[in-house]
Symmetry: C2
Subunit: 453 residues, 2 copies
């Protein structure tokens, strides 16, 4: 939806709510896609959200449930809390099963239990089942709504069975199982359409299966779906029983989330930090990181302090100190960005890592030598002292070498420690390039002190 | 494919190629998915790639074409160049139409023309048509393979027509057009399966269409598919004629590419820079940016130079200078990361931008005051001079305020100038926080000079 039309709709929605013109409110919103209603709600105040949702829920329960699916789980829970238990339960009945647990988590425990009790045994067991899987695994994000039939079913019976089962959200495949409920093949719905009615599923099914299990990390699930161009991937347990499917729309959410996390972790930002948070919430999230950075950033003052006597005799060194530090940081950040995306999107094993390290070191040295000479030349031109140029150029060569090496090694080491390769990498690198840059610059300065003071 | 098994397969493939055991090579690779063959090729030398591809192309043309789709366009072109023109043309016939133009671009012009001539008029016109659209638009990434039928067709005729048209890669929808070929609705293939054979398409179609046009930026296309949970989106011309579809697998590639670009552009890295490039290529790509950074990073030495007399009298100031600069950069980078992802994934208009700016400024000031006091306290403790603490704390409060403001404003201003909001943002910010941080620190130092020297 274009921003201009969104603005118009928000204004009308507000007006209708304030006037109590709920029929007009419904007439306006019923034409909107659930996604648009959800993004519209982000711009309303709480009271308005509740009224709009209650109107939707009264007029068209399915649409209300769709809106719940599209909202952020916290927001959805806050709205549902305002409804009677029966209405929450009936709304969850209409929501795809994989979207229910995230919302449930944000409901107060007592309310959650009564909602589950109201939902009946089977759905409530299913949902509780999903909650058992660890966060960020295939089990947690899979949907339990899918078509699965025995391999000996024929095509026309399969079509009837699927029709009886009713609408399954975004189902493009029929999964085929054997008598023990093990997944043995998959048939696209298009194939069913073209197949002879009396062919058996096992004769038309595709047995070249790409699957994950319930414990597979959601990022790996997403990469598989992306690499093999799938629209859904089946989730199996240890015995090859089909438990659910992860659909491509959830995969896109995971990829978006991981891309955000890569950037956030690089700069040591809490992955839950959002522009829309209250300032107080953000301060609370960022202060610990800043205090930690204060610690890491305090290394360089110690180095400078050590060389105080040198600086006292040649203050010109203090002038160029920030330049050496800055260039190291800038060029190291480039290597970090490359490595973080390489690890996130590709397959990086130790062989390719060694190659990457060797390559980045050559690049760092090459750039360092070039930039070092340029700086040496310029500073000689400006100051007239060749030694300042040599010291500055030398320190920059050293620092760009360090930046390239650490820019490659920090993400690799973080991964080796089973941490996210991006985690705080920019800060760690800056600490090192600041410290080593200043150390080599002032160290060289001390060596050549007689020529520059 | 797991890395261990990939390693094993690479070794066998190499062995078979060196032995000239092409039947065993084919027996080994025919079981692999085209995606895996493509990623296997990344690890082979050029001569091996060519042999493997020629074997595939001889044994199973469709699989060879699938591998071409999965390879990076440059790599695919380099392999195809080694084949006779007729074989390239017949390979392109089997490749989805949206995957052909990117590969064609990398073929030498003469070869490209003879391949197109060999392909026959219709396909070659179609492909030339795609090449007319600008890069990174829906027109360029759309596929021209889709099912579209007139709204008055009944379901059983539609099924027959689709069957006659044959297999269409990843088609999950049948598009419905009126007599003027305008898109009027869409029917999922699942709906066809369940519909009565004599119902007309116009009676069962969904008219709530979400579409893009040929000129829509690929990032906007991807966002729409992601937001509305689609698996394909129709691409229309100005007259609402259906020209193609963009499928979700291409959308995932676009989202991956955009996420990489966000990170790369933040640190001023060329978006085509890759770990696998030769060092020389990377040096050539990164040097211009580093030279530019040298220019921006040279601002702070001028500031320090201006305050040389102050530093001569109070060298302690030089000690803490890097700390003030570093903390500004660290906290500003956080705001930049937030804003870049916010703009990339969400709808940021001027109203929400103003809110974001106000919020980040409060956060910057809040964190600044807290960190400032901590530093003031610690430095007083270490050095015993309360004024050093005041100067340091004050400069940090100023610099974190500046970092928060500019961290929000730089991405917004870049977008206002129709540039990528991430473009060089980290370097621009570091330049500002380094300069303003040092300026305020040494400025305060000069004011209180009598108390600290």
């Amino acid at each position: 939806m274009k921003l201009q039309s969104l603005r118009l709709i928000i204004n009308s929605v507000r007006k209708f709510i304030n006037m109590g013109a709920y029929t007009r409110l419904w007439n306006m919103t019923k034409k909107l896609h659930a996604v648009d209603i959800a993004s519209l709600m982000d711009h309303l105040i709480f009271r308005e959200k509740i009224i709009l949702f209650k109107v939707l829920n009264e007029k068209e329960k399915r649409k209300a449930a769709e809106v719940i699916s599209e909202l952020e789980p916290q927001d959805a829970a806050e709205i549902l809390k305002e409804l009677p238990v029966e209405q929450i339960a009936s709304c969850f009945h209409l929501t795809p099963s994989d979207d229910v647990p995230p919302v449930l988590q944000y409901l107060p425990e007592e309310l959650r239990d009564s909602v589950l009790a109201k939902m009946g045994e089977k759905p409530s067991e299913e949902i509780k089942g999903l909650l058992h899987y660890e966060e960020e695994t295939a089990g947690r994000i899979m949907s339990q709504d899918f078509y699965a039939l025995n391999q000996n079913t024929n095509v026309s019976d399969a079509i009837t069975a699927m029709q009886l089962e009713g609408e399954v959200e975004s189902a493009f495949y029929l999964y085929v199982v054997d008598d023990e409920n093990h997944l043995v093949g998959v048939v696209s719905i298009r194939q069913l359409l073209f197949a002879r009615p009396n062919s058996k599923l096992k004769d038309i099914m595709n047995t070249d299966l790409i699957t994950v299990n319930t414990k597979t990390d959601q990022e790996e699930v997403a990469r598989k779906v992306a690499d093999y161009n799938l629209v859904a991937i089946p989730v199996l347990d240890k015995e090859n029983n089909l438990l659910g499917v992860v659909t491509v729309d959830d995969v896109i959410d995971v990829l978006d989330q991981e891309a955000t996390e890569d950037i956030y972790k690089m700069v040591s930002l809490d992955t839950s930090d959002r522009i829309q948070d209250t300032p107080f919430k953000s301060i609370k999230k960022r202060l610990p990181f800043l205090l930690f950075s204060l610690l890491t950033a305090s290394l360089s003052p110690f180095v400078v302090n050590y060389f105080k006597a040198t600086i006292e005799q040649a203050v010109t060194l203090a002038v160029f100190m920030p330049l050496v530090a800055a260039l190291g940081g800038i060029s190291g950040n480039q290597t970090i960005a490359l490595m973080v995306r390489e690890i996130a999107t590709g397959q990086t094993d130790w062989l390719s890592s060694r190659k990457a390290l060797a390559k980045e070191i050559i690049v760092g040295l090459g750039n360092g030598i070039f930039i070092g000479f340029v700086i040496a030349f310029i500073s000689y031109f400006l100051i007239g002292n060749i030694y300042i140029g040599i010291i500055l150029g030398g320190a920059i060569i050293i620092n760009l070498f360090v930046a390239a090496s650490l820019g490659t090694l920090i993400p690799l080491l973080l991964r080796l420690l089973h941490l996210d390769p991006a985690l705080g990498s920019v800060n760690l690198l800056t600490m090192c390039t600041d410290t080593i840059g200043i150390l080599s610059f002032l160290g060289l300065g001390t060596l050549f002190l007689n020529y520059i003071s």
